[in-house]
């Protein structure tokens, strides 16, 4: 089984710990994972802001970089959703514009192989107990794309509930958007911040020292607000919790 990590541009540049955690975790589960260095970005920021044609070279790059792998695993719900929902859409649009079926074929080719991390663990590897240890109360924010596009369901909670020492604290208004929304955060800063304030308030009221999610971009926004509020709650990607063990405990951002 040839498995490639699609780390995503945000994790690559800002959250390398998350990428390292995925490598550690999968290796512990006996999965050797590659990092094809030709990968960069799925094109989501371009696509969602209206620059669909600008996303096309990145879609082609994605298909090329991950050619030949059985599975492409990414620690980002929204990037997985970008590939799964929008690559076929880009293919259909290109065809409708009389530009041939090449993009549509690429989409068909990469979509079935692309997995968000928790899907890969639960659906492909068939595990929910990954042997992790994380002795803290944790609250989980199900991101919109994980919840409503990927339909991750309770996969993340099932994984978290098997982590030794971890106490999962329920979050009020969990299914409501945190207000990040990519360029929405800067194009509509007032509403974005208002949504983030409410989300941060719910998180703080859980009393948990850690909030986790399957997407660092949402956590960047939530963490940015928590930080500005001076809250001690730390945003941690789910992969980093699942990678932690008694022998190699979670060390925090390096």
């Amino acid at each position: 089984m040839r498995v490639a990590l699609f780390v995503t541009c945000v994790n690559d540049t800002l959250y390398p710990d998350t990428g390292r955690a995925v490598v550690t975790l999968l290796r512990r589960l006996g999965v050797e994972v590659d990092f094809p260095a030709a990968q960069t970005c799925c094109g989501q920021p371009q696509f969602n802001t209206g620059y669909r044609r600008q996303a096309e070279p990145l879609m082609r790059r994605y298909a090329r970089a991950f050619a030949g792998y059985d599975h492409i695993v990414t620690p980002s719900g929204s990037c997985a959703a970008m590939v799964r929902d929008n690559y076929p859409r880009m293919g259909r649009r290109a065809r409708a514009e009389g530009r041939g079926g090449h993009l549509a074929e690429l989409a068909e080719e990469v979509v079935p192989r692309t997995w968000e991390l928790t899907e890969f663990l639960v659906d492909v590897l068939g595990v929910t107990d990954v042997g992790a240890y994380f002795p803290y109360p944790v609250t989980y924010h199900p991101t919109c794309h994980g919840l409503r596009l990927l339909r991750l369901g309770d996969r993340p909670q099932r994984l978290l509930s098997q982590v030794r020492g971890l106490e999962l604290v329920p979050l009020t208004g969990a299914e409501e958007c945190c207000g990040f929304g990519g360029t929405f955060a800067v194009k509509n800063p007032a509403v974005s911040s208002a949504m983030g304030d409410d989300k941060a308030g719910h998180i703080r009221r859980t009393g948990a020292p850690v909030v986790c999610a399957v997407d660092n971009s949402c956590l960047m926004h939530i963490g940015g607000i928590l930080g500005r509020q001076g809250a001690g709650t730390r945003p941690v990607h789910l992969a980093e919790i699942l990678a932690a063990t008694e022998e190699q405990p979670y060390g925090g951002p390096r």
């Binding site: 690559d12 990092f35 209206g50 990145l58 409503r148 955060a185 800063p189």
Partner: protein, 493 residues
Amino acid sequence: MSGRTHLGMPSFPDASRTSTRNTTLRANLGHATRTIRGKRDRAVAELADWDRLRAAGAAVKDRTLRHLDHYLEQLEERVTAAGGRVHWAPDAAAARRIVTDLVRATGEREVLKVKSMATQEIGLNTALRQAGIAAYETDLAELIVQLGDDLPSHILVPAIHRNRAEIREIFTTRMGDWGRPAPEGLGDDPAELAEAARRHLREKFLRARVAVSGANFMVAETGTLVVVESEGNGRMCLTLPETLISVVGIEKVVPTWQDLEIYLQLLPRSSTAERMNPYTSTWTGTTDGDGPREFHLVLLDNGRTDTLADTVGRQVLRCIRCSACLNVCPVYERAGGHAYGSPYPGPIGAVLTPQLRGTGTALDASLPFASSLCGACYDVCPVAIDIPEVLVHLRERVVEGGPATVRGTRTTIRPAAGHAAERAAMRAATWLLDHPGALRSGQRLAARTRRLHPRRLPGPGAAWTATRDLPRVPAESFRDWWRRNRPEEGTDR
């Protein structure tokens, strides 16, 4: 009489900068939308076949839209055969003129109105006033809006932004200017306020000779119109006057009588979260001795055919105006309905308004961006409109321009103003991301200078740092870490 219009309103980000700070508005909206969300979930969960109803509701609308000319002609024939008269209005001005002329022909100087999105859209009340005709809104929430010289902010509950204390104040100070004043010592209990509205409007209902309505559905095969309501003000307007004028968007047609079995289940549960709304009226033309002697149907285009011409945007015409998408939208809940600058607020407004009106103004060009793309609207939509898909599609029209139909003419529109810098930045980003070597260099530069990065950014970046800390740039990118640990692997291609 309400003279306010949506003309010249600021862009969504500007309007919402103010509205998000209005704590009363935030509290009113938060309370109301939370209440209705819970009720709607329970009403929908009662039906085991909800998803199948939803799919059928979407499919019937798609069938109708793909053959809209056929169904409109059939509808016209049946309405006419049943004693109604059909008028066609390509735009708002034509619709206003038709209605005004019809009212004038009756010799009346006042009309009663059932809540109608289409007449809001065309600005009918203002046109009637200019023609010396008083138009009285009879829906309780529309009455609150009209008396308060306000604008509606929700499709189903136009006065959702008002709480009971504000409504009591409006009734006490303004009802007397319009007819029967509010009773002395009016309290703010909703039942008491509703009673005041009943007494205020009663006299108007009993003397009315002309009414203007919209319709929720029009059945092509029978020529039947359907109005779904709760208070009975609709029944009053539809049955007591001698003349009834219904202004209805051309997309409201459904093919068959049987199709109503889908929508009469989808609509009440999605909108008021009831198994069935208190009153539904259906009528076909005119009936001797029962109801209006004259019935006029004004079929309204006003941008709908432009929307129909867009194969992605077309699905928005499935909308049955239930407002479920507003009630779940976190953006609507915080920005409020007025920020959308149109009678159609919320997610559906963000995809409908820029199609009906075009993206020519700063406000209309900002609407497709008034969403975090969280997808809650698509989940609850009873006719499965993929609102996020259309939002992104319309964003492309704003930032890149491209083919569109405007007032019936196929054209290539130019990008909206103000996106040149963003377009250049996106192109630069794409270039960088398509060159992993350059990306790596950039990451290394950022890592080397990371202690120099400011906590607050100037320019566009300030939109982020005004309320949020920036993430710290790590000492080493993942890419470099991988290369350091796996020198044998991975070449940039």
